[in-house]
Subunit: 147 residues, 2 copies
């Protein structure tokens, strides 16, 4: 089963700071989409909305400064049931973010698109923490004719 | 076996124009690495060099305006023997680039890094064709403590 994998390093941030950008509405809305609502507690559902639609994520893992896990419980058919895992660790002055979006049933063209979009959103997360300003939707970087 | 998948759309370029950016030394050196040499003919080997090392790609497929295939014949151990496929097609005013880097033996941390780097180099390819200026190495976007 094909997975989407990425790695970014956030310079000058601790794993705890990156963790907060992944586990608070304020943090998430500053790098992924400004239209973010819901509960970021364990078992809660976070609602991410974009111009063309959105994703509902159940929070399945919260290990402070170490790991965040989500299961997609609402959104495009290809996403529902897939899981997203964020692993954090420190190397020198960087917090390394290892990202995995797994459980895709087929390597469809939409998966190619999402892989590239995730990379740009990870760069947005990095920029948020390093410079104070991310590029969340609707001001995200558009990679193709789909978004 | 895990694959890296990406999709970008190059607005205002034909598949033939994108194909040329993937099959000429001038094109390749303007979006991937300025230090690009070798033969871009079928069966030729293209040598891509970066500050920390490089990749040698044998050109295995050349279907004008449609598909380019490379096999990695030199470079980091994790890359040797893997294959890279570029599929091009037109949608409205976009040339859609479907990118696949397959044959990775293990989803190692280096593969996460390469997936994110590829996304940024695809954005560099898009920028080159849309604006005349890419971001090839050594002026590429650095995503983490590795590069």
């Amino acid at each position: 089963m094909p997975d989407i994998l990425h790695r970014v390093g956030v310079e000058g941030s601790t794993p705890q700071q990156v963790y907060e950008a992944l586990t608070t509405i304020d943090g998430l809305s500053a790098w992924w989409t400004t239209d973010t609502k819901g509960s970021t507690d364990l078992g809660g559902v976070i609602e991410f909305r974009f111009v063309p639609g959105g994703f509902d994520m159940e929070v399945t893992t919260l290990k402070p400064a170490e790991q965040v896990g989500w299961t997609v419980v609402g959104g495009p058919e290809e996403w529902v049931g897939t899981t997203i895992t964020w692993n954090l660790h420190q190397e020198d002055d960087f917090t390394i973010v290892l990202f995995k979006h797994e459980g895709w049933r087929e390597p469809v063209e939409f998966m190619h698109h999402c892989s590239t979009k995730w990379a740009l959103f990870l760069v947005s997360l990095k920029a948020l923490l390093e410079t104070g300003k991310g590029a969340p939707s609707p001001d995200d970087f558009h990679i193709d004719n789909w978004n």
